[in-house]
Amino acid sequence: MTLTNINIPRLQLEGMTKIYPAVIANESIDMTIAPGEIHAVLGENGAGKSTLMKMIYGVIKPDRGRILWNGEPVDITNPAHARKLGIGMVFQHFSLFETLSVAENISLAMEDYGSLDDLSRRISEVSEEYGLPLDPGRMVHSLSVGIRQRVEILRCLLQQPKLLIMDEPTSVLTPQAVRKMFATLRRLAAEGCSILYISHKLDEIMELCHSATIIRGGKVTGYAVCAEESAASLARMMIGRELPTCSRKRPDVEGQECLRVNRLCKIAADQFGTSLERVSFSVYSGEIVGLAGISGNGQQELLYALSGERPVADRGAITIDGESVGHLNAAQRRELGLGFVPEERLGRGAVPGMSLSDNGILTAHRHGMVRKGLLDFGRAKRFAQKCVTDFTVKCGSVDDLITSLSGGNIQKFITGREILQQPKLLIVSQPTWGVDIGAANIIRQAMIDLRNNGSAVLVVSEELDELFEICDRLLVIARGRVSPSVKVEKTSKEEIGLWMSGMFPGGPVDTNKARELQSEGCCVD
């Protein structure tokens, strides 16, 4: 680490305060980042990290406080201004235009990029250099969440920033790619670029960051030098108490095959989607199977086929308890005991304009909430109330609009709604995405309990830590193909990481070629 001008901090925040009508998002936050420093901002969901970052990036104006950039007070009026100063930001929620191509999107943030062709070439170069392969000509609407994040990262890197803000960047990368990105970040830091790294993954922060600012409830609760702390001590500062853990106790449950996917093929709906190629796997009652993979490798297509939102022609390609269900719609499959938590919460897993109680009816109506065609709203309310209590959903009442809740709380509610119905087969996509640590543990524990009670659970997640924590067996999806399954205790994150690049028996990347590449030190992705 070479620190230039060590006496003048790259960025200094003094008393940053942002007050919203209902809540103080940030209260008198001070923070200092030196040139070349990798500084973590640690906090649970809703702690105020994003608000703080948006103030630095000029998206929102602070109510009070001062920003010093290289020692000079600045009033950052908008993101373009921030970029001009040399601040780049990779958002957690993406700020891309769906109807434009990757190159066009990036061009919007660039002052002077020559022609679009030049820019496309540069995008390809930089993306190769940093191991984030990307086709500049693709339309953003056709990209998966993971690839979109890649676009955001590249957009920043192209501007050679002096300060790079990264908001939860690793959730969509393989362990190998994470390591590669860490190397990239370290290199950037060595070149003098400061990095603000927002995350809730403690081990990543321990590995990458030099120092950390911990925020809870909009206030700074501590500063830490990472080398002097442990993950547990950081967690304590972050959530204010000991880190809750899942019960690891998991008896072997004898189970029959519950979900069977048999040579499922599905041509992608659009040219940029991923076609599923002869996907076969099973999930037994009493086990949790994890499906790992970088997003955009066919997870969405597979989940649409499994949930019944897009039935398949071959009815025998999917069976639940031996019954062919490929042609059935979502409601018919739910009658057979399916529960499903989709990746998108609002607009798919929940209806934005409705209350919590009404959103409970969406899938739980078949549990005695409909009598003679009429809804029993009392019962629906009690169900929603139970969901709120059991899964610690923070809300005023079950009559509140679901949109008044934070993303994590919506996720808790939807997951709770599905789990409380005691499904025989539960399929969950990204169960704890954006959920704080305490709540994530509640959700994981609930899935484990469901398994122990004899349900089959399939978890699709990009977070390997999570999969290794809760699953019995793992599968990997890459380019529309699903790997053979492997027991969690017989594999490692490294192996799963390789499989995520397509290098598994029968996978899309030829194993011999893969070995060659590996020996050359390349990462196939």
């Binding site: 373009a80 939102e309 979502a330 018919q332």
Partner: protein, 362 residues
């Protein structure tokens, strides 16, 4: 993005729920003010005009009866349309469905003209209901089979229906003893809706409409299918996620509008008109669209909105008679009402901000 833009429209983070329900009232008020300004510009005394337009038509029993019989088809059709609108199924074809309903019901009345059976009225209403639904099933079929836009199909079918009605009234349904006038025979007592209050034209069809509004309320607010309709209209992908069959909801949405419009058509010819004419509706099918939106797609609101809209019809007639106003005046008021409602709704959901040339532009 950052230089010339001085006016910016942005969604409000949390649209006020109260304002959502106030916007119809605000729209009505603004309509009134604009109307009075127009009267003044036309050289009328605004107070007099207001009186002639909004008070005179309903200052006696007869007038109130007229208000109810005008509001009756509007509330019935508005409720039927709301079923579809809530699912984002835009049935613009109520005017045509009304005409076909009147045609079918009228055909029954003409065919059984000599009969005095008590079954004739129910048969007429059933025929009208079926006719309206059949007409609405054309856009439903085309939408569900070929994904044809139901707005265009239902709208264009209006012209077909109205011309079909005119053709048949000029032809087979014409009164043979009517000196060649394009109208059917006058319906007998058994084919006419009984009058409820002596001295008015208030017929029992109004009760039927009220019953329709109540049934619509139960269906939309309390039934599981009504819930599915709300989900489909609010978030189509959530409906797929839950496994609600969207095609079924499209059918229900369009048929409900057709049913209501068809019955309303029969009640027009069996009520105030008393025979089949080439034209049986002063645009109720279109006005009901406004009624449905002013009433917030809620049957209670639709009931109130239908009274307001009926008053505009009566006021327009009274204005023509007493103030020498042109017949377009009713349409002007309807248009103003819808315009202000849309504007108010827009401002409830969005805000306009004028800002200096450099500010956020992410």
């Amino acid at each position: 993005m950052r230089d010339a833009v001085l006016i910016k429209i942005e969604p409000r983070p949390e649209p006020s729920r109260v304002m959502r329900y106030c916007s119809p009232l605000l729209a009505a008020l603004l309509m009134l003010i604009s109307g009075l300004i127009i009267f003044t510009l036309l050289g009328k005394n605004p107070v007099e005009a207001f009186h002639a337009f909004f008070v005179e038509p309903i200052n006696d029993f007869y007038g109130l009866g007229e208000l109810c019989i005008k509001a009756s088809p509007l509330m019935l059709i508005g409720t039927g349309l709301a079923v579809g609108f809530r699912a984002s199924i835009w049935n613009i074809g109520a005017e045509g469905q009304l005409a076909i309903g009147a045609l079918c019901g009228g055909a029954v009345a003409v065919y059984f003209n000599q009969s005095s059976s008590g079954f004739i009225l129910p048969a007429m209403i059933s025929a009208g209901a079926v006719g309206g639904m059949l007409w609405a099933s054309i856009p439903a079929l085309l939408r569900t089979k070929f994904n044809a836009n139901e707005i265009l199909v239902s709208l264009m079918l209006n012209y077909v229906a109205i011309l079909l009605l005119a053709m048949l009234v000029h032809g087979p349904l014409r009164d043979p003893d009517g000196y060649g006038f394009p109208q059917s025979v006058l319906f007998g007592e058994s084919a006419t809706l009984p009058i409820m209050i002596e001295g008015t034209r208030l017929h029992v069809g109004v009760l039927l409409s009220l019953a329709g509004v109540v049934a619509g309320w139960v269906f939309l607010e309390k039934s599981f299918t009504g819930y599915q309709i709300r989900v489909a209209g609010g978030a189509g992908r959530a409906a797929t996620y839950a496994g609600f069959e969207y095609n079924r909801l499209i059918w229900i949405g369009l048929l409900a509008g057709g049913l209501a419009a068809g019955v309303a058509g029969v009640m027009e010819i069996a009520g105030p008109i008393g025979q089949l004419l080439p034209s049986v509706s002063p645009g109720y099918g279109y006005a009901a669209i406004i009624v449905a939106f002013v009433g917030r797609l809620h049957p209670g609101g639709i009931f109130l909105a239908s009274l307001l809209m009926a008053l505009l019809y009566l006021g327009g007639e009274s204005g023509q008679m007493n103030l020498d106003l042109p017949s377009a005046v009713t349409g002007i008021f309807q248009g103003l009402l819808l315009f202000y409602l849309l504007a108010a709704d827009f401002l409830v959901n969005y805000r306009i901000r004028t800002k200096s040339s450099q500010q956020e532009g992410n």
